[in-house]
């Protein structure tokens, strides 16, 4: 056999091995529900490894364009492997990508890799269907309908960030109640039909009510199945709330020493140095040394900011009843150029180069130019609500915190609302102005919102939104 033929055979064999690894013999990576990711949203990530040691999965989403070049967003997920089959489920933020590649590294070598095409970067939200007859829902909705088994639905609110609705009819089993609650908390409309309403867990969750029972940022739909327009109307635009909330904050650059102070001090230093030189000899040298040391200490101490990197964190709660959708926003400002890290799993509010590292400890790192600010948004999660509305539509503090600047949209305002204490007499709402007014303008009339330090709490009016 000629050498060229041997070479061809070797090449064919190596290609075969590469494809085998890529197709998931050693590892399978599924981004999004049933491999349908939503761009610009948190997505569930499911990693299945077979007889592979511990390692790490790296996903790199390039958000760049022809003008700016590559803007990589890297996600690093530690994977615990071993003998047998191991499954890892986490949530990662996927920006709108130009290319998305992943590789699983274990034992110092790449054991699997793959890519998602650019066409898969779809921002449209998904309608998840758990049903033996998913086609009926697909016909009803002109959207991205994904048929999922009940067992695959996670109980993490972040996984439902890109979900518009979750349809359950009981014909293909029911997911865990925690998964249904997580979907509702994340803002999804949970449509319950037929046998689903006879499930005891669901009955306990939903209770008795009208067609639309809002809960947290989403709700239960128990009436005639909605169409696409009704689903859109029932949804809360959490993205708009979050954008307005993020815009209301931001770290202000540190106040620096005035020009006049700098000029006077520097001139005085120069003058004193010249005088010390005029003195000459040992006294002159000593005076010069003291001046040099003193001026250096003063120069280093006075205009220097407390920290080269300033980080402020705030949380936004949006809920109905005692459950809320919660996310935390971190405003960063770095004075020197370089990497700025926050010990949380978060996404940038704008397109930027960075790395999200899951595991323990988690970290999100952004590469920023000098004197540049950025905003990081944590993955959403379900949390107990601290502000609610009573039967009369008045605000109630349901947690253990005293809430201040409490306002009802289109109604009165209160200086503070304390838990377990009767409401004081309302006052006329003050003119908010700026970003706070823009935020309030987004809320449905009758909703209440309040502040707890830098955190904002919203209790949505439970009325029909469409």
């Amino acid at each position: 056999m000629s050498g060229r033929l041997w070479l061809a055979l070797l090449l064919a064999a190596s290609l075969h091995v590469g494809q085998g690894q890529g197709s998931g013999r050693l590892a399978e990576v599924e981004v999004g529900f049933r491999g349908a990711p939503v761009a610009d949203a948190w997505n569930p990530l499911r990693v299945t490894v077979r007889d592979v040691g511990s390692g790490r999965l790296t996903l790199v989403a390039d958000q760049g364009n022809l003008r700016d070049g590559e803007i990589p967003w890297t996600m690093v997920v530690p994977v615990t492997g071993g003998a047998g089959v191991r499954v890892l489920e986490v949530d990662v933020f996927l920006p709108a990508w130009r290319s998305l590649v992943w590789s699983l590294e274990a034992g110092g070598s790449i054991v699997a890799s793959g890519a998602l095409p650019r066409e898969a970067a779809d921002r449209r939200r998904l309608d998840l269907v758990v049903s033996a007859r998913p086609g009926a829902v697909a016909e009803r909705l002109a959207g991205r309908v994904v048929d999922v088994p009940a067992s695959l639905l996670p109980a993490r609110a972040a996984a439902y960030d890109g979900i518009r609705s979750l349809w359950l009819d009981g014909s293909a089993g029911m997911p865990a109640p925690a998964a249904i609650s997580a979907a509702a908390a994340a803002g999804a409309v949970v449509v319950l039909a037929d046998d689903a309403l006879r499930d005891p867990d669901v009955t306990e969750l939903v209770g008795e009510g009208a067609t639309w029972i809002p809960i947290a940022a989403g709700g239960w739909w128990v009436g005639a199945p909605p169409d696409g327009a009704q689903l859109e109307g029932a949804r809360v635009d959490l993205g708009a709330y979050l954008a307005a909330f993020a815009a209301a904050g931001g770290v202000v650059a540190p106040r620096t020493v005035s020009v006049a102070a700098v000029m006077l001090t520097a001139s005085a230093y120069v003058l004193l140095v010249l005088l010390a030189w005029r003195v000459g000899g040992a006294p002159g040298l000593l005076t010069w040394s003291v001046l040099l040391l003193g001026a250096s200490l003063l120069a280093w101490g006075a205009p220097r900011p407390s920290s080269p990197t300033l980080i402020e964190s705030r949380a936004l709660h949006v809920g109905v009843g005692d459950l809320a959708w919660r996310t935390e926003v971190h405003d960063l400002l770095t004075l020197p150029a370089g990497e700025v890290a926050v010990a949380r799993v978060a996404r940038p509010a704008t397109t930027t180069t960075g790395e999200q590292r899951l595991g323990s400890p988690p970290a999100t790192t952004l590469t920023l130019p000098r004197w540049r600010g950025a905003t990081l948004v944590e993955s959403p999660r379900a949390a107990p609500a601290l502000l609610a509305l009573d039967a009369d539509g008045l605000p109630v503090a349901v947690g253990n915190r005293v809430l201040r600047d409490v306002r009802v949209v289109g109604g009165p305002a209160w200086r503070e609302v304390a838990p377990g204490r009767a409401l004081e007499a309302p006052s006329d709402p003050t003119n908010l102005g700026g970003n706070a007014a823009a935020f309030e303008a987004l809320l449905p009339p009758g909703s209440a919102w309040a502040r707890d330090g830098d955190d904002w709490h919203v209790a949505l009016a439970p009325g029909v939104r469409w």
Binding site: W277, G281, P303, P336
Partner: protein, 208 residues
């Protein structure tokens, strides 16, 4: 009680007390104060970019001063040459607080200690480079060109670094980033220049 300083230190302080060096020193410090004030942000909240300008201005001005005075060292007596070199070194150190205030306000990624480390070594290197040039110019009887050589050498240093894509000779880039090569080069040149000056002194090249 009168403290007697070493003769070299006395000579250096004497050079700073009278003659042309205090005038150049005043000019250098005044230029740096003006640069600092002009580049300092006028309003709170504006990015403070003053360090970039102050540090580069300082670096270039000291390099020019050291090269210029370095060229005169082979002509002076060893004691006067040592005094002049020390005076230039003290003058260079005197400018450090002005850079430090800009550094503290700008908060760049380059650490503040870099200027404290680089300034004495780079100044010694430029003094020695000037001295070597002075010896060559004197040998070639081209002393009329001496005033042009200091800026020409700096321009050449910048051009070489830009051409090679390194930070070895260029005081503009070396002021903004840690450059071990810059320190190594100037350290070596300083030693070479000192040896050359000693050789010139042994041959009786210095003038009274």
């Amino acid at each position: 009680m009168t403290v007697r300083l070493p003769r070299v230190v006395e000579g250096g302080l004497e050079r700073l007390r009278a003659g042309d060096l205090p005038q150049f020193g005043l000019l250098l410090l005044a230029l740096l104060v003006a640069t600092l004030v002009v580049t300092w942000p006028a309003r709170p909240g504006l990015p403070n970019e003053s360090w970039y300008t102050v540090s580069q201005t300082r670096s270039v001005l000291i390099a020019l001063l050291a090269l210029g005075y370095g060229m005169g060292l082979p002509l002076a007596t060893p004691r006067r040459a040592a005094g002049t070199a020390l005076a230039v070194l003290l003058l260079a150190l005197t400018t450090l607080p002005l850079e430090l205030v800009a550094h503290a306000g700008s908060a760049p990624a380059t650490p503040a200690w870099w200027a404290w480390l680089a300034t004495p070594i780079a100044t010694a290197g430029h003094l020695s480079l000037g001295a070597l040039l002075g010896i060559v110019v004197r040998r070639l009887r081209l002393t009329a060109l001496a005033p042009l050589l200091a800026p020409a050498v700096l321009v050449g240093a910048v051009a070489i670094d830009v051409r090679l894509g390194v930070t070895l000779l260029n005081p503009l880039t070396a002021a903004l980033q840690i450059a071990p090569g810059h320190l190594a080069f100037h350290g070596a040149v300083a030693l070479l220049g000192a040896a050359a000056l000693a050789w010139v002194a042994r041959r009786g090249g210095g003038e009274a």
